[in-house]
């Protein structure tokens, strides 16, 4: 493996430890316990599905990494992991769809706003915009083969760098990202609209926590995928030519946007993971 790959893996390890520390520091204690069978079953099925999805994701990412040429499959790995994880969440929601149905209903409006961690979601949205901007810039300035960068380094001098995140890498990434967004929207919709009947207040609070956690977990994996993809673009593509004084200034702009995307996505992921593990009380309908 090259030094850059080791550097990237070290970055991932440090980021994982930092996330763990943030979650441990900012966690809000244990979620309210419910004696309601349905509420407990929903929570257990979601946790089980996520564990199975995580194991599957590791297996799938090993296969995907081998696909394509010049690390094309490896670049897709974060989004593929996220897609498998979200599919696990969707499966859990489908299985537990009627677990809390008992013929009754509370006259309440359950909307996404009640369960969405707003600040983390805003940061996530901003990091997505920055990643898209980075990818657009790198795609526009890429060479004709879509995986190299060529620029003048003086009279009668042309410098070529590869790998470079042109269309060869960003087109499959865009497709995977769109698939991920659609699946996340489905997962979040299913979590918010999961039917529930007449529940006691403590069970309602526990169920609300399960929904908040499910929404946050689905978004957290998107944030992690964005952070990992942006980090990959920065380290493998943008960083080496940025130190070249002859490199086009647009590359440094993409580097700044890419680094900002990594930071914002990591902060968003930390916040979302804290919410997923220790959800805050949901907003009432009046607060939405």
């Amino acid at each position: 493996m090259t030094g850059f790959v080791w550097f990237f893996l070290a970055f991932v390890l440090i980021a994982a430890v930092a996330l763990f520390v943030v979650i441990a520091v900012f966690s809000r204690g244990s979620a309210p316990r419910s004696g309601h069978d349905g509420v407990r079953r929903v929570r257990a099925v979601i946790v089980l599905a996520r564990v199975v999805a995580a194991v599957l994701a590791v297996r799938v990412v090993m296969d995907v990494s081998e696909l394509g040429l010049y690390g094309q499959g490896l670049s897709l790995a974060p989004f593929v992991v996220a897609i498998v994880w979200v599919l696990g969440g969707i499966a859990a929601e489908m299985v537990t769809r009627s677990a809390l149905r008992d013929g009754g209903a509370a006259l309440e409006v359950r909307s996404l706003e009640r369960y969405l961690p707003r600040r983390s979601a805003f940061l996530l949205g901003f990091s997505i915009v920055l990643l898209v901007a980075t990818a657009v810039i790198t795609t526009v300035v890429a060479g004709a083969d879509g995986r190299s960068l060529a620029y003048a380094c003086g009279p009668d001098c042309m410098s070529t760098r590869t790998p470079w995140p042109g269309a060869f890498y960003t087109a499959p990434l865009a497709v995977a990202f769109m698939i991920l967004l659609v699946l996340v929207a489905i997962n979040v919709h299913l979590a918010v609209t999961r039917p529930r009947g007449n529940l006691a207040e403590v069970d309602l609070a526990a169920d609300d926590d399960t929904r908040s956690a499910a929404v946050a977990a689905a978004l957290a994996v998107v944030a992690l995928a964005i952070a990992a993809t942006a980090a990959g673009l920065v380290m493998f593509g943008l960083l080496p030519p940025s130190f070249d004084p002859d490199a086009p200034p647009l590359i440094r702009l993409a580097l700044v946007a890419g680094i900002a995307a990594v930071v914002l996505a990591a902060v968003s992921a930390a916040g979302l993971l804290v919410t997923a593990l220790t959800p805050r009380p949901v907003r009432s309908a009046a607060e939405v």
Binding site: G104, L107, T193, A285
Partner: protein, 124 residues
């Protein structure tokens, strides 16, 4: 505030729902401008077809109790004032029971839930 569909009740589900919503509005539990759940959400919660809830909402809307706005959901109409006493029926015992429960420390939510359950259980 809760509603319930009783499968053993020969009354059609939409009528059960309409009656319960009307009772809640009469009692003032559903205040004017209060937003009701979306049709699909309530239908999914109750385990009935969306058309059942839509019909109950539509009949209450036709009678002037509810107002539906595109994008704004379904709300209790502004003019849907609670009826403190139904004509010809003495509800003073209900009022006294509520006062009694409040004096003993019961919360408004607990009292409301108890009344809702009693209403949902139907006539004895």
């Amino acid at each position: 505030m809760q509603v319930r569909i009783d499968d053993g009740d020969p009354t059609p589900p939409y009528e059960q729902l309409r009656r319960q919503l009307l009772a809640l509005m009469h009692a003032g539990a559903l205040a004017p401008e209060a937003r009701l759940p979306p049709i699909r959400q309530l239908a999914a919660d109750l385990g009935v077809a969306a058309g059942t809830v839509a019909r109950a909402y539509r009949e209450l809307e036709d009678a002037g109790w509810l107002v539906s706005r595109r994008g704004g959901g379904t709300r209790v109409a502004t003019g849907a004032a609670p009826q403190s006493a139904a004509s010809g029926v003495d509800l003073s015992e209900v009022t006294a029971a509520v006062h009694h429960a409040r004096a003993r420390g019961a919360t408004a939510t607990q009292i409301q839930a108890t009344v809702d359950l009693a209403l949902a259980a139907g006539p004895q």
